[in-house]
Structures are given as C-alpha cells and as structure tokens.
Symmetry: C2
Subunit: 329 residues, 2 copies
C-alpha cells in the first residue's frame, strides 16, 4: 500500500514524539504540520523534514493531499479541531483524552458518522504490543477469571498555576492527563461499567484535582486506580485472575509484560520498538485509513465514550453524606 | 543476660516456624510445649529438642520455670489462652490477630494491666529489620510527607468449609489471616484512624469474606489495601511520599526494602536473617521480659487495639444506600 499522508495540528511536546516515530512507521508518512504561528510550523517542519508547514489549521484541513490529521493541541481544543478536520473530509487521530466531557464525545462521534470520516482517540497504550500480549494472555484464559485490576500513574508535576496541567480553563488536573490511562486500562481488561465508584480526591489551589485514589466495584471484580501530580507512584498495571496475574511496568508506555503463576514469572514479553512507541499507533491507524475503515478496532469510539463517562463520573463524584465512624464497643 | 525460657501453646504450623527460629535467637530458649494431646506435644518436643512436653495448657502455665508463653492456637482461642497464661503470671506473646473483636482486646489489655504481666501481639512483621529500615527512612524524612500507602496480601487458599480458614466459627476469612497485615502496615506508617473506609468484599459459601478491597481515606492521605483467598496478589507494600517512595516486597515477611527517588532505587536494604524471621520477634520480646518491660515498644497494646478496631470496621462495613450512577447527559 501507499503510505498514508499525515498532517499534524499543534506542534507541542507530544507532537514531537509522534513526528519522531514516523521514522519507524511502515504505513504512514508525515506530510504537513500546522500551527497558529507560521514560524513554529516552519521550525517543526524543518526538524522532521516535513514538506508542508501551515500557519493556520484551516490551511492544513484544506490541503487535498492530506489524508489523516493528528490533533495534538491542548485538551480543550480537541473537540473543535477534530470537528473541523472531520468536516473538511479528513480522517482524524485525536490525542487522548479525545474530549473533556461525554457530551462533546457523543457530538464528535455524531459528526464522524454524518461526515463518513474515520475518527479515533490517540489512546496509544492500546496499540502497544506489550499490552496486546497481555490481552492475548487474558483471552487464552491464562490467568482465569479477572478479580482485580490495579493501575497507578503519578508523577510530580511542578505547580504552575497558569500552565496547562494546573489550569482549570484548559481542562487541567491529574485525571485528564494521567488518570485517563488508568481508567482506560481498567476498561480494556474488564469491559464493564463499575456498579459503584468511590473516590478520594485532593485539589491544587487552582481547583483542579492533583491526587486521586479510585475504587471501582464491578459485579465480580474490583479496580484500584490512582493518579497524582503530587508524587511519583509505582506506575504499574496488574491484571489479577484466579489462576495467575499479569504485570505491566510503566503500562501507559508499556514496553514489556510479565505473566505470573504465583511468585513465578512464566512468560515475559518485551517489544522491539525503535521509537517512543507511537509507530504502532501510526501504523494501525494508517492501515485502517488505507483500507477504508470508519473506526479503529483497537480503540473503538464506544470505548472512548466509556472512558469519557467514567472520567466524568470520577470528576463529579460526591461522597454520600455519612455518619461518623461508629465506636466499636 | 540469661536466656528467657519460653513455652509454646498449640503446636500447629506457625508454632513449627517459631520453634525452628530459636536456633537463631540470642535472648530466648525454648523450654516447653503444650498441646491438648500429650502425643502431639511429645512429637513436637522431640523435633525441636524441647525439655518439657505437656498434655494440657494448664500444666504449662503452672510450670514455674516458664517465663514467656507463645500462644499459637487458632484465633478464637487466643483470648482464653492469653488470659489464662497472664493470670498464671506469665508474659504472653500471642500470635496475630491478638483476638477477634475489639471488646476482647480491651478486656485482655485490662487483664494484663491488672495482673502486671507483659502482653504483646505477634505482629512479627513489625519486628523485621527491613520494616524497621523503612520506618527509619520515613523518620529521616527521606520520602517527605506520606500521601499513599498500598499493601496487598493474597494467596489462593483451597476451599475446605470445615477447615480453619473458611470456618466462621473459627474466625476464618481473609481479613483475620492475611488482611490484618495490610491494616497493620497502614497503621504502622500512617498512625491515624481513617476518616472514611470503603470496602468491596466477597464471601465464600461458608459466609466468611474471601476477597476484600479497601480504600481508607485520611486527612491528607489514602490507603489502598487488598486481601484475598481467591487469588495471588502482588504482595508488596508501598509507602509513597511527596519526594520518593519505599517498596517492600512480600512485606508481611519482609526481607528487603527499597528506597526510590522517581524511577531510581537509591537505597536497598536486605537483612541477614537465618531463620524464617521469627528470631527478631523472639529476641525483642525476650529482652523486654528480661528487663521487666510491661509492653513492647514495637507492637504497643494501643496499636493492637487500633488494628482490631480497623479490622472490625472493615468486617462490619455496610455500604450507604446509594442512588444509581447518574447518566452523564
């Protein structure tokens, strides 16, 4: 197949890693980049040897050569940018979180359906071979029925009230940036809505949550998830079944996974990635587009909506009024 | 100092490990054992070269040579055996959990006080050098303010309805056998009553809990704890602070601990134990007794009461009536 021609909207940090990984992709090539500043677009294009650099997003959307758009702007612009690209007839890969509210998610899915264009959330973790191997172990019934899912993702993020991470107007907070991976991991391996959620959450002085501990109860399992801007957590994923468990170090960017029977690792998978790992996402999405798929089987739109709904429930969780803990006399 | 002379009540599995470790203890010697069966007492005494073997507990309590009693009977006999030993004027080390209800705990503390005898719960984890090293790192402010405590302890235990582990009449269930360690770990490092507890619990057909996920909320921290008879968990303890975290593999029998700054282990402690690890408990308690202490500074009676209270709260947790999760339209 011919390589799919990609354009990037928003040349920020994540776009740099994404652009870097085209060197290792087989089915996609980087053809254009757009920034609201022509100068930033030029610099980015020069760094990654990109043929076209646009000083406005609309110019990129209008370029008939561009088949796929990667939206890498801040969260609060995802809806608008994805919508505009879809309406211009492009396939869209939008960085996670797809949007910042389930309402926006439903609307965007509607637009993708109406325009007949491909849309996928850049939940790149789902595309990583180490995660797929973990899914395969589960599908092969290697660990038995899943009883527990545990996922933590926390890094200390220096407090800058005006920066994106701590700014409520830019959908800052630990859940949208880091916690979303833990929710996506729980969904990927359990595929159920929690019956109950309990949340312990702390806020930074700007009002965004910067430390969240979650307990999700399912019919026959529980998920313990945690995310933080305040501290480094042990950022592993555990999928624990009746007969064994799977351990995925740094699961959000997973490079390897371990299958355990009791104390013993019985299988260890390690991937042969050459880039940051985005090449897997680029290739899977490029193949979808080249073969006229309308959505990704790896990150279906229904999954993105579930993740948005769970995220929203966590963020809007209010503890029930409780009586004080009773004396145990 | 002369070695303190010990007697064991109840020659079960745990008593075997305990007896084995006297070979590595400096301050205690094993002098007597008692079982309700003279034959079992004789066999046990022969195996560990113990001078006295009694076919009743009372004979052991009556032996004036015995200074310290180790109570290793099933949980539901702990109160009675410890009480009788205290009333016979002996120092008592009772296997964990000390008792099976906070009421019993208060009563036993009262009896120890009234009789003026030493009483300590065999929370042997607290005596292990790797745990003490972790406490030292916290005391030295190496990890900053504690934000999260995570502890899991789960092993698949074959279902035998009449056996001790699954029998409600013998205080079976995962919390008394395994979960107690996770609660004790949270208390040891945070020393606070939870403001709120949320519990997800499953029961075996005998009615005892066999899989429990706990979320404890504190003023400025959270604890995520888990225990199970249904599956092997990743049985680690994490104490996570603002500036680093401590990892303790298989913390209940901890042999080593790691201090992390971000991804990097900056210190690694490994102990030089020769036995199962009970020698540390035997020696600490023997020294207390030889120096006429009335309780252990490592496991104070107030700590045992706290653990009992938290255990009781977990076991009697009833979820507040909740409204169904709301649609997020």
């Amino acid at each position: 197949m011919n390589k799919v021609k990609w354009g990037i909207v928003g040349p920020g940090i994540i776009a740099h890693e994404f652009a870097h990984d085209f060197a290792f992709a087989r089915y996609g090539e980087l053809y254009a980049v757009a920034s609201r500043s022509q100068e930033r677009a030029n610099q980015f294009a020069q760094k990654y040897d990109i043929p076209k650099a646009y000083g406005s997003y609309q110019e990129l959307y209008n370029d008939p050569e561009v088949e796929a758009i990667y939206v890498a702007t801040p969260h609060t612009f995802h809806f608008e940018n994805s919508r505009d690209a879809l309406q211009a007839g492009k396939a869209v890969l939008c960085e996670k979180p797809l949007v910042v509210h389930p309402k926006e998610c439903r609307k965007l899915i509607e637009i993708a359906t109406q325009t007949g264009n491909y849309l996928v959330e850049g939940m790149w973790t789902y595309f990583l071979p180490a995660i797929k191997r973990a899914q395969q172990w589960v599908a092969e019934d290697r660990i038995g029925k899943i009883l527990h899912i545990k996922a933590d993702f926390g890094y200390p993020i220096p407090f800058k009230p005006e920066g994106r991470m701590y700014n409520p107007d830019l959908a800052g907070g630990a859940m949208h940036d880091l916690g979303v991976y833990t929710i996506a991991a729980a969904w990927l391996f359990y595929q159920q809505d929690p019956l109950q959620m309990t949340i312990v959450s702390r806020n930074a002085s700007t009002g965004v949550e910067d430390d969240v501990t979650m307990l999700f109860e399912y019919e026959n399992a529980a998920a313990s998830l945690c995310t933080s801007f305040r501290c480094k957590l042990h950022n592993y994923l555990y999928i624990i079944g009746e007969r064994g468990y799977i351990e995925v170090p740094d699961f959000w960017r997973a490079r390897e996974s371990f299958l355990y029977e009791m104390e013993t690792p019985v299988e260890h998978y390690i991937d042969d990635r050459k880039g940051f790992g985005f090449e897997h996402e680029i290739d899977a999405v490029s193949r979808d587009i080249a073969t006229d798929q309308l959505e990704s089987s790896v990150v279906p739109l229904a999954t993105s909506l579930k993740v948005q709904e769970h995220l929203h429930r966590v963020l809007s969780y209010k503890r029930q009024p409780t009586t004080p803990l009773q004396q145990t006399n």
